[in-house]
């Protein structure tokens, strides 16, 4: 086990020098691409993803996303009454340490697509756009753990940029525990925001919550862990989501303020100083 957990109990510092409840640096931008309806770029540590949102538009629009079969991503709520959310994820070959190419038919990717699609569909007001498609295309440029969380956050930001009405941000992060499933020690500490190495060695889960509430939209745990650990990890994860939401919110507001300053958009009249453009 290359990850030395013994040093953690001494200094309470993780491999990358963080404390247990520290997030990695999150750097995000919205409106990164002029051509898209909505776009975003998000870094969580070394995990870097880009997102482009097209729509709401007529299904099978000019780009004919989904028509070609393999290009089709997961769809949620495609039935006539509300907009379908189509997510397609492209994992760049150069994103991980060893170059590994994943086909679009990869089941793991399909699962991610379907998760993001249905998580966002629950927050987006899709009923406002019947018979249309919101297509979200995600590109993974670099992977260092918490991939699903980064993808959800980027997709949320891009949807905000695209001006699609939504209930609240869907913010996500990961949480883990210092104990492995074998060790039954009670002294195990929960950890926030796992990097790739920690994800490999320690049990962890991905949580996404809606806005500031404690309501969990996505909860994915893929490792073996004692039931008693769950509560601690979940609590840390939900708390982390709130921190992430605050960061995302700041990104959006900063961009909005900048656009008002530049005169790109008119300042709205609202209760608060600035609402989402």
């Amino acid at each position: 086990m290359p990850l030395d957990t013994s040093s953690y109990s001494l200094a309470l510092l993780r491999v990358d020098g963080r404390r247990w409840n520290e997030l990695r640096r999150i750097n995000a931008q919205i409106r990164t691409q002029a051509a898209a309806d909505g776009s975003s770029y998000l870094e969580m540590g070394h995990t870097k993803v880009m997102c482009v949102v097209t729509g709401p538009s007529e299904p099978f629009g000019p780009a004919r996303v989904g028509r070609t079969g393999a290009g089709a991503g997961a769809t949620a709520g495609a039935s006539g009454g509300e907009a379908g959310v189509v997510v397609s994820i492209v994992v760049a070959g150069f994103s991980s340490v060893d170059r590994k190419r994943r086909g679009r038919g990869d089941k793991r990717i399909q699962e991610l697509q379907s998760t993001i699609s249905s998580a966002l569909a629950a927050s987006l007001h899709t009923h406002l756009f019947p018979h249309s498609t919101i297509s979200i295309s995600l590109h993974v440029l670099s992977q260092d753990g918490s991939l699903l969380a980064a993808l959800i956050n980027a997709a949320t930001l891009a949807c905000v940029d695209a001006g699609i009405p939504m209930t609240d941000y869907v913010a996500a992060c990961t949480a883990g525990s210092t104990s492995t499933y074998a060790a039954n020690d009670e002294s195990a500490d929960p950890l926030l925001d796992l990097n790739h190495q920690e994800e490999q060695e320690l049990p962890g889960l991905t949580v996404a919550t809606l806005g500031d509430s404690d309501r969990v939209a996505v909860l994915v745990c893929e490792s073996r862990v004692q039931v008693s650990r769950l509560e601690g990890m979940l609590a840390v994860g939900v708390d982390g989501c709130k921190q992430v939401r605050a960061i995302l919110d700041r990104v959006v507001r900063d961009k909005g303020r900048k656009m008002v300053q530049e005169g790109t958009v008119q300042k709205g009249v609202g209760l608060e100083d600035m609402e989402v453009d």
Binding site: S114, T115, A122, V216, S223, E231
Partner: protein
């Protein structure tokens, strides 16, 4: 691609209103499963599981192959799921639907990645020969809660399965036929089971176990929790859907653990019954005693 007929608005509303007044259409309690029937086939590793009208057949098999280059010391273990048009017209052959992908991913995570089967014990000659254990899960009819039933069937078939006995002498690998030596069970570490909750209501405040097809069609979200009877979580998957309070998810997990312990006991009982049925006149004991010598 034919689409499954959606339930009508009236039906949907009826189901939801019934749930809101604490009623299910078939009169079950919210956390109650439909009766689970398990029957084993003549061959080892063939299991049919019935959960209400949902029927699943799982068959385990094993063959000797070359291990993967990057894992020379491990055997190969695959789970193949097939949702044939027989179960529902919405399924097509050779075109995996989202349901199928999610089902196979969940089985994969629950059974394979949690290390239920000891893949190292499948290795025969390092880097050259190993067992390839394969479970084929066929969905015969689909009336909701496929995941729980399929997972139960997979675990049952693997635990029921016996692979041919082998020996290595002077580098020569011999695989014995069942006539020569009684087949041996797989190296089994723990038995994970899936428990799927379906959520209803605007805030997902109503949670229901073992939803039927109709109930699944109107749910706003679901969460599949895989556990073993030792209280270890093997995976949790709440893949989107309407957000649910974190506390109620924790509650769901603890109820799930109870159900899993029941499943585990049920499977143990059924396996013991089947073993007894096969072991007429204590032939097995005799044979294994012979093998020991």
């Amino acid at each position: 691609m034919p689409r499954e007929a959606e339930p009508s608005l009236n039906e949907k509303q009826f189901v939801i209103q019934a749930l809101q007044s604490n009623l299910r259409l078939d009169g079950r309690k919210f956390d109650q499963y439909r009766p689970l029937e398990v029957s084993f086939g003549e061959q080892y590793g063939v299991v049919e599981v019935k959960l209400g009208k949902t029927r699943i057949l799982a068959k385990a098999s094993a063959e000797v192959t070359v291990p993967y280059v990057d894992r020379p010391l491990d055997g190969i273990f695959t789970i193949a799921t097939e949702l044939s048009p027989m179960a529902s017209p919405a399924f097509e052959v050779n075109r995996p639907t989202e349901t199928e992908v999610l089902l196979s991913r969940l089985l994969e995570k629950t059974v394979r990645r949690s290390g239920a089967l000891d893949t190292e014990s499948l290795c025969l000659v390092a880097g050259q020969k190993c067992w390839h254990v394969r479970v084929d899960v066929h969905i015969l009819s689909h009336d909701g809660d496929l995941i729980d039933a399929a997972c139960f069937a997979t675990v049952a078939s693997l635990r029921h399965f016996r692979k041919p006995d082998t020996s290595i002498e002077n580098g020569v690998l011999t695989v014995y036929t069942p006539a020569e030596r009684e087949p041996v069970p797989l190296g089994w570490l723990h038995s994970p089971f899936c428990v799927t909750w379906s959520f209803y209501g605007d805030e997902g405040e109503i949670a229901v176990l073992d939803a039927t097809w109709l109930e699944e069609a109107v749910r706003v979200g679901s969460c599949t929790i895989s556990l073993n009877r030792h209280g270890e979580i093997c995976q949790i998957a709440k893949l989107g859907g309407t957000p649910v309070e974190a506390l109620s998810l924790l509650q769901c997990t603890s109820i799930a653990l109870v159900r899993v312990k029941e499943f585990s006991a049920l499977l143990d009982k059924k396996l013991a019954e089947d073993a007894k049925r096969r072991d007429r006149g204590g032939l097995l004991a005799e044979l294994s005693a012979e093998n020991d010598r």
